[in-house]
């Protein structure tokens, strides 16, 4: 079923999409595969050392984005919300970078 739109006049004339089962299922499968990947790296990638942590964080970030984009409907929302999420992401990465600069130069 393709995405269709429906009016909810009692909620300020907002249009809310009804998302297809296929999209939901594909997202679920993607998340499960990413989880399997995280477990596989932690079990079989022990010689990656620091990189295994970085990889796990990267996969977790991708999973969070997939959840926000599909399950939390960021894909269908106004662009403003994507910008807000990006700003939060920039803040978080800045915290990591600034703290790392401090730690690595001690």
């Amino acid at each position: 079923m393709n995405t269709i739109k429906q009016n909810h006049n009692d909620q300020g004339h907002e249009e809310h999409p009804i998302v297809s089962y296929r999209e939901h299922l594909s997202t679920l499968v993607a998340l499960l595969l990413l989880t399997v990947m995280t477990v596989a790296i932690s079990v079989f990638g022990s010689n990656l050392r620091t990189l295994s942590v970085a990889t796990a964080l990267l996969i977790a970030s991708v999973k969070a984005l997939v959840v926000a984009y599909y399950f939390m409907h960021l894909k269908y929302d106004k662009k403003l919300y994507t910008w807000l999420l990006l700003i939060v992401g920039v803040l978080f990465v800045s915290f990591l970078i600034l703290t790392s600069i401090e730690f690595l130069n001690r």
């Binding site: 600034l98 703290t99 600069i101 401090e102 130069n105 001690r106």
Partner: protein, 541 residues
């Protein structure tokens, strides 16, 4: 709805204690916050006065050293987490944001009530340390590790209280963001929104994004105390500087949670008492967002002497100076608003002028601390205590009491004695500067902060400071007494809808406002919220 129902004010709608403590009306919740905040504020003031009494003379006067440490910690926890962080948003934001936006409530009224209950639970937890366990924490309000992990005092309950209070802050921030996005009256675009709403918007984003960081950090302290994980305690492999990073990643933006709403208050009161359009509306609005954003990247300036690496110190010092730009933009615009305005020196404006003067002293002394070289000498001295109180109390505290005088007739439909309010302001202002300016002098002379005792050469500034605390308390009690007397006075003439001549929407409704906020459709001024050239004619009944 009948016209009679529209005229029933929110005090008359329902009676009894339960109708207040379980009310979902934003106005009642705002007042619940006001009464609770003022109670805790007075507890904090009492603790502060006790500290000043102990410091009147060198050596022991009447407090033990450990008790002194506990008192300054509890003073800090109460003033920061129970008073100044929630103060303006929780009281005046709750009461006036929906009215200024022309709507009937916040987006999530039940969540709003829950926020107040969480606040009360957090407050009880914080105060319970006075009578429960091993006494209040003696770590200072910053709960620095590793001492906070090792001390026998009741740190766990104190940090859990701050953790719980954080939820109240987050939920209020969330509520305001959604309200501002979704419930503005038709025709009120973001660029036609009052600057108080802009200030609350910027503040709410900080509350929402920064508070979870302190939440998890404080839980890490509890985990470290109970399980000895080795997060912050260097004796078991932890990193105490990591704690300071995590603490200040929240607590520096929290300074803007405290200051930004105060900026919003100034931007409301100045146009009303100069009867002219605010100078630089867009510059003030966007500078709030700029302060909120840049404020995230400056936390390291609290740690210059903590053993942080050199490059990080330089980066944080430079970033700190960037915050001065949007802050100065605001101050210049406020002063420009006064220029050639029809100035009416009423009590709310006096508090705002006091704010601008004291905030400038606080801000400029902040530059001295933000500069790497001078901070090395002044860090952890009384200069920092003086600077902090100038910004927080001289700034936000004065804005809070200015707002109380400004919106008093709208909230209660009565008026206080203007002459006594002016006298109280004068005493309060003199007392404030007597109390805190000598602290900066003592700091420059080298007196360390948080010390129970001091060398004889620091006696004079300490003595003046303690005398100042008595003057300040006199002014405070006179001010509060005058406000309470105004409420109790009978047979007062009605103040009407717009006693000060303001034009934001709250001045178009009844005083006190009806349950639904407006008895008739509010009219937006043609060119924005401070368009005094096209001032809407506000008819009384």
């Amino acid at each position: 709805m009948t016209s009679t129902a529209l005229n029933v004010n929110f005090f008359q709608a329902k009676k009894g204690l339960f109708s207040w403590i379980f009310s979902v009306d934003h106005k009642r919740i705002g007042l619940l916050y006001l009464y609770s905040l003022l109670t805790f504020f007075l507890v904090g003031v009492t603790l502060g006065v006790l500290m000043r009494l102990e410091l009147l003379n060198p050596g022991k006067d009447f407090l033990e050293a450990k008790t002194y440490n506990q008192i300054f910690t509890l003073h800090g926890v109460i003033m920061i987490f129970l008073f100044i962080i929630p103060s303006i948003p929780a009281v005046f934001g709750n009461f006036f944001l929906p009215i200024m936006l022309g709507t009937d409530d916040v987006s999530f009224p039940r969540l709003n009530l829950l926020s107040w209950w969480i606040y009360i639970i957090g407050a009880i937890m914080a105060l319970s340390t006075l009578i429960w366990g091993d006494g209040p924490a003696d770590t200072g309000w910053t709960f620095y590790a590793p001492y906070s992990v090792k001390t026998g005092t009741n740190v766990t309950m104190s940090v859990l209280a701050a953790f719980v209070l954080g939820f109240s802050s987050i939920l209020t921030g969330l509520n305001f963001i959604v309200t501002i996005h979704r419930l503005r009256t038709p025709g009120m675009t973001f660029m036609k929104m009052p600057l108080f709403a802009w200030a609350l918007y910027a503040t709410s984003w900080i509350q929402l994004l920064a508070t979870p960081i302190i939440g998890i950090t404080l839980l890490m302290i509890v985990a470290e105390r109970f399980f000895g994980i080795g997060l912050f305690d260097p004796s078991i492999g932890g990193d105490p500087i990591l704690y300071q990073h995590l603490f200040w990643i929240y607590s520096h933006p929290a300074v803007y949670i405290m200051a930004l709403p105060a900026f919003g208050i100034v931007s409301e009161i100045l146009p009303t008492f100069t009867q002219r359009t605010i100078f630089g509306y867009k510059a003030i609005a966007f500078s709030s967002l700029a302060i909120a954003f840049v404020g995230y990247f400056v936390w390291g300036h609290h740690m210059f002497t903590a053993g942080m690496s050199g490059p990080a110190r330089i980066i944080f010092s430079v970033m700190t100076f960037l915050v001065a730009i949007p802050t100065a933009i605001k101050v210049f615009n406020w002063v420009a608003t006064l220029y050639k305005g029809s100035i009416d020196l009423q009590p709310p404006l006096l508090y705002m002028l006091g704010f601008i003067f004291q905030f400038m002293v606080g801000g400029l002394s902040g530059l001295v601390l933000g500069a790497l070289a001078t901070d090395i000498y002044l860090h952890d001295t009384y200069f920092v205590v003086g600077h902090f109180h100038y910004v927080m109390f001289g700034g936000t505290g004065f804005a809070f009491f200015g707002a109380l005088h400004y919106w008093y007739p709208k909230i209660w439909g009565k008026m206080y004695n203007i002459k006594i309010a002016n006298i109280a302001f004068a005493i309060f202002f003199v007392g404030f500067n007597m109390l805190y300016f000598p602290m900066m002098i003592a700091g420059l002379m080298g007196m360390p902060r948080r010390y129970y005792d001091y060398l004889p050469e620091f006696h004079l500034p300490n003595m003046i400071s303690t005398f100042g605390s008595w003057v300040l308390v006199t002014g405070l009690l006179l001010m509060l007494g005058n406000l309470i007397a105004g409420l109790r006075k009978k047979n007062q003439p009605k103040v009407g809808r717009d006693p000060w001549g303001g034009i934001t929407l709250e001045w178009q409704t009844l005083s006190p406002p009806p349950v639904q906020n407006f008895d008739r459709m509010p009219v937006l001024p043609k060119d924005g919220p401070y368009d005094y050239e096209h001032k809407p004619v506000i008819k009384e009944d």
